[in-house]
């Protein structure tokens, strides 16, 4: 697990635990720190503890144990309204009885800003999300995407240094979501604010974040930049949770020169990169990305191990072909090939030989 313990961390969780019922821990021994200006995403399935972490940071839940620090100061006992953290909620939580402008002016009013200063800031915030003309509307008169923009503007209007977002794009349709992902990252980087973003959508996490913390079972499984997370998952949970992934079960047979030979349960031998295995004889889950599987034997290392595979299904998806194969006794092995003029279109029933670079095949914990 990657841990960055530095004194200049802007937000830091130190040995934080959280239990609701006194019997089970929802968050187990969480250590996390992020520098100023970072866009960090907490990614995980529901019930993994990511939202609880966010709520503890916002001050709506108290940590059962451990310390949360903001800009070096412990904030465990500071009530939420004094933390000065901007927050975007899942359902936007725009006050329905106020206009858009009144919603935005609310955090400025409670901070007792003067009228002219308030108006200027509200206008700037609305312009920032390209909603300048909507100040007089009620939230109910706006579309989901517009409400989302207003919620974002409201969380930023009082110029917080830290903004928390709790699945803010969950209610939008796909196209709008992709557009807003881009908008949010642009604004966050332009303003240089630190962002903690919670989502269960891995694409969102990968496209938006500087670093992603993958949560499961109350722990951070891996904390890494998106590319590292995708290409070098540290354990089988991360490998399976991020992106599409093929897994094969087997036993480590030999470890040599930084590579491993794994005997699959079907008896086949494959080459892997050992990531999370101890010694020869250990059980392992081997993980390989569908797009890293090679069907053209000439592109493989001459003495690379290959597996025999039978084509079960061929799906034309436009930019790629998705082919399902029977490999080593499993029928859910998927490969993805680019739709190029010279690409082979496999037909069901066809037999092929597949292989990969040992570096792309990761032997992980079973």
């Amino acid at each position: 697990m990657a841990q960055t313990h530095s004194n200049d961390a802007f937000v830091a969780f130190e040995r934080v635990q959280k239990s609701y019922d006194g019997e089970t821990l929802v968050v187990k021994d969480l250590n996390l720190s992020l520098p100023k200006g970072e866009f960090l995403t907490m990614l995980g399935p529901s019930g993994s503890g990511k939202t609880t972490c966010l709520m503890m940071l916002a001050g709506f839940e108290t940590a059962t144990h451990g310390e949360i620090k903001l800009d070096g100061k412990p904030i465990n006992n500071i009530p939420p309204h004094k933390r000065g953290i901007g927050m975007v909620f899942q359902n936007y939580a725009l006050f329905p009885h106020m206009t858009v402008a009144e919603n935005l002016a609310f955090p400025l009013e409670v901070r007792k800003l003067g009228k002219s200063e308030r108006e200027a800031k509200v206008k700037r915030a609305l312009d920032m999300v390209q909603m300048g003309a909507f100040g007089g509307r009620r939230p109910a008169q706006l579309s989901g995407g517009q409400q989302q923009r207003i919620a974002l503007a409201r969380a930023l209007v009082f110029e917080p240094e830290l903004v928390l977002m709790d699945e803010p794009l969950g209610a939008l349709d796909k196209q709008l979501r992709e557009h807003m992902q881009f908008e949010i990252t642009r604004i966050a980087h332009d303003l240089g604010i630190t962002t903690v973003y919670v989502t269960h959508d891995q694409t969102e996490a990968l496209t938006m974040s500087d670093r992603v913390a993958v949560f499961n079972d109350g722990r951070i499984q891996q904390l890494a930049p998106p590319d590292e997370l995708y290409e070098a998952p540290q354990n089988s949970f991360v490998a399976q949770f991020i992106g599409e992934n093929n897994t094969l079960e087997g036993t480590v047979q030999e470890l040599r020169d930084g590579y491993a030979k794994v005997r699959l349960d079907s008896g086949d031998i494959i080459d892997c990169k050992p990531v999370n295995v101890g010694k020869a004889g250990d059980r392992t889950l081997v993980s390989i990305r569908p797009e890293r599987v090679e069907i053209d034997k000439s592109r493989l290392h001459p003495d690379a191990h290959t597996l025999k595979a039978e084509v079960l299904e061929f799906v034309y998806m436009g930019d790629i072909f998705r082919t399902r194969l029977r490999v080593a006794g499993r029928e859910d092995f998927v490969i993805k090939t680019r739709n190029a003029p010279d690409q082979r279109r496999l037909k069901p029933g066809e037999m092929v030989e597949i292989g990969w670079l040992a570096d792309d095949c990761r032997a992980l914990d079973a």
Binding site: F60, H81, I85, F89, N91, A93, F95, P96, H97, F158
Partner: protein, 424 residues
């Protein structure tokens, strides 16, 4: 050209005009809908619209028993037409003669006592005059009488009371305003319409008291019900369902039982007073048979009507609003006042309207625990028609209360907007 336009109306596939065809298709639906709602319509008409209409009529009809006064005294009415009571002179000989004729007829039909009671509402003493004169006047023969005035005054001196004759003249039409006058504490004297002495203005006082106590009760239910509704809306469903049963329990208990229970609790020798004394206080509190008792008992009884609409509105307010307000820097108080409370006003409006209108018309509880100074206008209305048989005045008072409630509803609509009221 893809489409040809015709000058005539749009036609359906079979050649009939589209409008006619549509109307036929919709008619069956409408008839079916009407048939389904017909029982309710009939019920509302018979049990609601007609009684209210009848009450409105009662309050202006000038009747004695079942007949109109001018139908019982046709000759008297005709003879009194030219008489002016302000001159201070008794009516003409012809009027007295007409009275004997009409009175004899009324006696035959056994209407003279009802007539007396009718006039007695306006001028006390006339009931006994009519009753006592009955047999003697019935034996008179108009043809033999030369001086009807003297004869009649001979039967009873009161026939020479000009005020009585003025009362008869004033109430000789088919319709009368005297019930409304009485309801507003005014009376008709020979000098004209005047307000009664301030210490006799009983209905004004009762109406104001009814409105004031209803308002107070509404406020109390709001003050007690708001936190309860919030708690209910905030708790997990299983717990809140259990608590909801406690709120609804009074609903399922007889009103009479609940009021009697309060009587037992609050009376001089009751549980609360016993505890009070046991705590070392020497004076027993008077908690019942006064306004305090009415407010306590009715607040309890009407509480569910406040809690339920509040609860249903609060249930729709996600907790994230309060969190959002706090994350934006609002203290708990500001978050409540600026964000939560404004969103509950539809519930407050519905609850307040419901409780207030129910309270204004409440009868049993003020009757049982109100004592002398805690009775409502409804108790007086009941007294008027059941004890005194003065249906006209009872109807006038009822109509005035109806008008006041409708007026308040209108004002409320103007101020809050009835669209903003949510009952669930």
């Amino acid at each position: 050209m893809a489409d040809t336009t015709t000058d005539g109306p749009m036609l359906a596939a079979d050649g009939t005009p589209l409008k006619q065809s549509l109307a036929r298709a919709l008619r069956r639906q409408k008839i079916r809908a009407l048939m389904l709602t017909a029982p309710l319509l009939v019920f509302v008409l018979v049990s609601f619209i007609m009684p209210i209409g009848s009450m409105l009529m009662r309050s202006i009809q000038n009747t004695a028993g079942t007949e109109y006064v001018p139908d019982i005294l046709p000759n008297v009415v005709a003879e009194l037409e030219g008489w002016d009571p302000t001159t201070g002179e008794l009516p003409s000989e012809a009027a007295f003669r007409a009275m004997i004729v009409d009175f004899k007829a009324a006696f035959e039909n056994k209407q003279h006592t009802q007539l007396g009671r009718r006039f007695n509402y306006e001028t006390p003493g006339m009931s006994s005059l009519f009753r006592k004169s009955g047999r003697k006047v019935s034996r008179m023969d108009v043809a033999e009488i030369t001086d009807a005035k003297a004869e009649l005054i001979d039967v009873d001196d009161d026939w020479g009371n000009i005020q009585y004759w003025a009362t008869i003249k004033a109430n000789s039409g088919y319709y009368t305003s005297s019930y409304y006058m009485a309801a507003f504490d005014a009376e008709r004297t020979i000098e004209g319409v005047q307000m009664k002495d301030p210490d006799q203005r009983i209905y004004q006082k009762l109406m104001l008291r009814t409105l004031w106590l209803s308002g107070l009760i509404t406020f109390c239910t709001l003050a007690i019900g708001y936190p309860v509704a919030w708690l209910l809306a905030d708790l997990p469903l299983r717990t809140s369902n259990l608590l909801m049963i406690l709120v609804l329990l009074p609903f399922w208990t007889s009103l009479l039982v609940r009021t009697s229970a309060w009587k037992i609790l609050l009376q001089e020798q009751g549980v609360i007073n016993d505890i009070w004394i046991a705590l070392g206080f020497s004076d027993r509190l008077s908690l019942i048979n006064n306004q305090l008792g009415v407010v306590i008992a009715m607040t309890h009884i009407l509480l569910p009507f406040m809690i339920l609409p509040l609860y249903s509105v609060m249930k729709t307010i996600p907790p994230s609003y309060l969190r959002a307000a706090k994350s934006l820097g609002a203290t708990n108080t500001t978050a409540f006042l600026r964000v939560y409370f404004p969103q509950t006003t539809p519930g407050i409006g519905a609850g307040a309207l419901l409780v207030f209108i129910l309270a204004v018309g409440y009868f049993i509880t003020p009757e049982l625990v109100g004592g002398a100074d805690g009775t409502f206008i409804s108790n007086r209305i009941y007294f008027q028609f059941s004890t005194l048989g003065n249906w006209g005045l009872a109807a006038a008072l009822g109509t005035i209360m109806l008008a006041i409630v409708l007026l308040l509803y209108y004002v409320y609509d103007k101020l809050v907007g009835i669209d903003n009221v949510k009952l669930g």
